[in-house]
């Protein structure tokens, strides 16, 4: 391990490498610029539209910056309670879900680190690994949630995907690579396993815990499918489902707030919803980025 990201700093160009030809540099620069543009432009455009006055957005003058700056769209969505409530639901589900997922993943991962000494734990490990190979499918999962009486509850957005086997393996691999002497000496000093986990393992594993917390958080925030199949009550909808209904299906934004209004939401309002649904991801992205390469590759490379 410790292969990526920690590679020793190389001089920009090793002595054996020929200086780049100008034509090569130009072509590469153009390709890189094109890729960057393609990746970023949709975000720029949507943000620009969301800050445009409704007429200016319709006229088509806004391509890069708002043709006529206006906060009207944001005022509208935050004045009504549909989007505000959906944001709160998403935030709540994301926070509670992430906390639960992280605690369960970390405890289970630690519980499965010493398969030789803890009878039965190897079997549990295989149970977990098998789920990566064979999943039950949509129908049985839906029927289970229904039988448990979780339809139309927030729990249905959290529990079905609470622990990811992939994240569990990542964390367990990380734990297995910690110096075992630390644990042994703590045990000799009379520390309980709980103390070892809380006082030694967790502080040493902050990076990997941050990674899985961010992965779980992003997954909860982005999830719309669970909400779509398990929630009938539109008052409980998270932001992604509201987005799907109002932007992709073109349902009127105030369907529930103002009954009888049938006109589809104007473009600027739709785009403002897209932006508020994206902003939290953009806010955590710098943190994500710091950790994720490490997270993906921790244990991904043998040796």
């Amino acid at each position: 391990m410790a292969v990526v990201g920690t590679a020793p700093a190389r001089p920009a160009r090793p002595a054996w490498q020929e200086p780049p030809r100008r034509i090569t540099s130009i072509v590469k620069g153009l390709v890189i610029a094109a890729i960057t543009l393609v990746m970023l432009y949709p975000f720029v455009y949507v943000i620009a539209i969301s800050f445009s006055a409704a007429d200016a957005a319709r006229s088509g003058d806004t391509l890069l910056i708002p043709a006529e700056f206006s906060l009207a769209a944001y005022r509208t969505i935050f004045a009504g309670d549909v989007v505000t409530r959906a944001l709160l639901v998403s935030a709540g589900v994301t926070l509670v879900g992430t906390l639960l997922s992280v605690v369960m993943t970390v405890t289970l991962a630690y519980g499965l680190t010493r398969t030789r000494e803890v009878p039965g734990s190897k079997f549990v490990l295989y149970l977990v690994l098998f789920t990566m190979l064979f999943g039950a499918g949509i129908i049985p999962n839906y029927l289970l949630v229904k039988e448990l009486g979780l339809l139309d509850t927030y729990a249905s957005l959290i529990l079905p995907g609470a622990v990811s086997a992939f994240n569990l393996v990542v964390v367990r691999n990380f734990f297995m690579n910690l110096p075992q002497e630390l644990f042994d000496s703590a045990r000799i000093d009379g520390a309980s396993e709980f103390q070892i986990l809380w006082r030694i393992v967790v502080p040493l594993s902050k990076a990997v815990i941050a990674v899985i917390a961010l992965f779980y958080g992003v997954a909860y925030w982005n999830d719309f499918f669970n909400a779509m199949i398990y929630l009938n009550d539109s008052e409980k909808w998270p932001i992604q489902l509201v987005l799907q209904q109002y932007v992709l299906q073109g349902s009127p934004l105030d369907q529930m707030a103002v009954s009888g209004q049938v006109e589809a939401a104007p473009k600027t309002i739709q785009m403002a919803v897209v932006v508020v649904a994206t902003v939290p991801i953009l806010l955590v992205y710098p943190f994500l980025q710091r950790f994720f390469t490490k997270g993906v590759l921790t244990g991904a490379i043998k040796g």
């Binding site: 292969v3 990526v4 920009a12 054996w16 020929e18 780049p20 090569t24 590469k28 390709v31 890729i35 949709p42 455009y45 949507v46 405890t107 289970l108 519980g111 000494e117 803890v118 039965g120 549990v124 977990v128 690994l129 789920t131 190979l133 064979f134 999943g135 039950a136 499918g137 949509i138 129908i139 049985p140 029927l143 289970l144 229904k146 622990v163 992939f166 393996v169 691999n173 309980s192 396993e193 709980f194 986990l197 999830d223 719309f224 499918f225 199949i229 799907q244 932007v247 992709l248 299906q249 739709q270 785009m271 897209v274 994720f292 390469t293 590759l297 244990g299 991904a300 490379i301 043998k302």
Partner: protein, 323 residues
């Protein structure tokens, strides 16, 4: 997909010293000594049993004419009739065709894209530019499909930027988001846009593991940048490429479920139905639980066989395999 790579199982790490089991201690005594560990295991185990294994058992509805009012116990058993019905259902056949076609396109176009991007980024001399570009291309991976489809709608939809640009030229209007004929290309492009950057991570890892001395001696022997790419870099990452490709082949029956579910209303079932969306529409919405569960079960079994087979193949070809 590659996230699963290589992480399933790793051998015992060398620094772990085996603790000799004391003779004469029963399993129960050992288990009691480790009781804290069971406290840690229990909530997670409970989760996996309830939410992952009970649904496995729930697949019995595939052999029933299931009705939610009668429940599992009372619903009539129909043997394999759901399975025979499935193979003569034109919608299932259509969904299967679409699934395989989308998968093929993704393997041909979306699979090599991150390799090309990784090679391009790797050839940049400036680490700063490299890092900036990486931050940009990784971003879409973290954006949910609802938002991705919304963004694409604004660019390629009927009232989108593309048509605005085409208008003066006299072409259009085109609504690429609702055109069944170009739909397969559209979703492949979306997958590339969303995942190409993220996909480079694993290839970068492989590239950094190639010894710089190989490049040096190749250069000394007179190999230019292209020949070094061909004779050093590509052979150096070929085992990773082969492994990922084989694993991708193992999941041909899975194509972006959320992505297709979101866009099916615009283009219609004929162009966009895949195995997973069929299961959802026919089962959860249509109430034909038995047939939908049968389709899901067959898909799961075939998928598992393919993944296990692909892993065998990877090992036989000299790779490490995943498990």
């Amino acid at each position: 997909m590659h996230q699963r790579l290589d992480t399933l199982e790793r051998p015992q790490t060398p620094q772990r010293t085996p603790r000799p089991a004391r003779s004469g201690r029963s399993v129960w005594a050992r288990a009691w000594r480790q009781r804290w560990m069971y406290v840690f295991i229990l909530p997670g185990l409970l989760y996996f049993v309830v939410f992952r294994y009970i649904p496995l058992a729930g697949n019995v509805v595939a052999f029933q004419q299931y009705s939610p009012f009668l429940g599992f116990a009372e619903s009539p058993w129909v043997g394999l009739s759901n399975f025979t019905a499935m193979f003569s259902d034109p919608e299932v056949i259509r969904a299967l065709q679409n699934t395989l076609w989308f998968s093929l396109l993704q393997i041909v176009f979306a699979f090599p894209a991150p390799i090309a991007l990784a090679l391009l980024l790797n050839s940049l001399l400036s680490d700063r530019i490299k890092r900036v570009v990486q931050s940009v291309v990784y971003l879409p991976h973290f954006i949910g499909w609802v938002i991705v489809v919304s963004l694409w709608q604004e660019i390629f939809g009927g009232a989108g930027v593309l048509n605005r640009l085409l208008e003066p030229v006299g072409v259009g209007p085109l609504n690429l988001m609702a055109d069944p004929d170009t739909f397969a290309g559209l979703i492949t492009a979306q997958v590339i846009w969303k995942e190409v950057g993220w996909g480079t991570i694993i290839f970068f890892a492989a590239i950094t593991m190639i010894s710089p001395q190989l490049y040096e001696s190749a250069a000394v022997d007179g190999a230019g940048p292209w020949r070094r790419l061909w004779h050093v870099t590509l052979p150096g990452i070929s085992s990773v490429i082969v492994l990922l490709l084989i694993l991708r082949l193992g999941t041909v029956l899975t194509v972006g479920f959320e992505q297709l579910l979101l866009q099916q209303p615009a283009v219609g079932a004929d162009a966009a139905q895949v195995v997973d969306t069929f299961t959802y529409y026919r089962g959860v919405l249509g109430g034909d639980w038995g047939l939908a569960a049968a389709v899901g079960l067959v898909k799961g079994v075939i998928g598992t066989v393919l993944v296990v087979g692909a892993n065998r193949l990877a090992k036989r070809m000299g790779g490490q395999g995943v498990f």
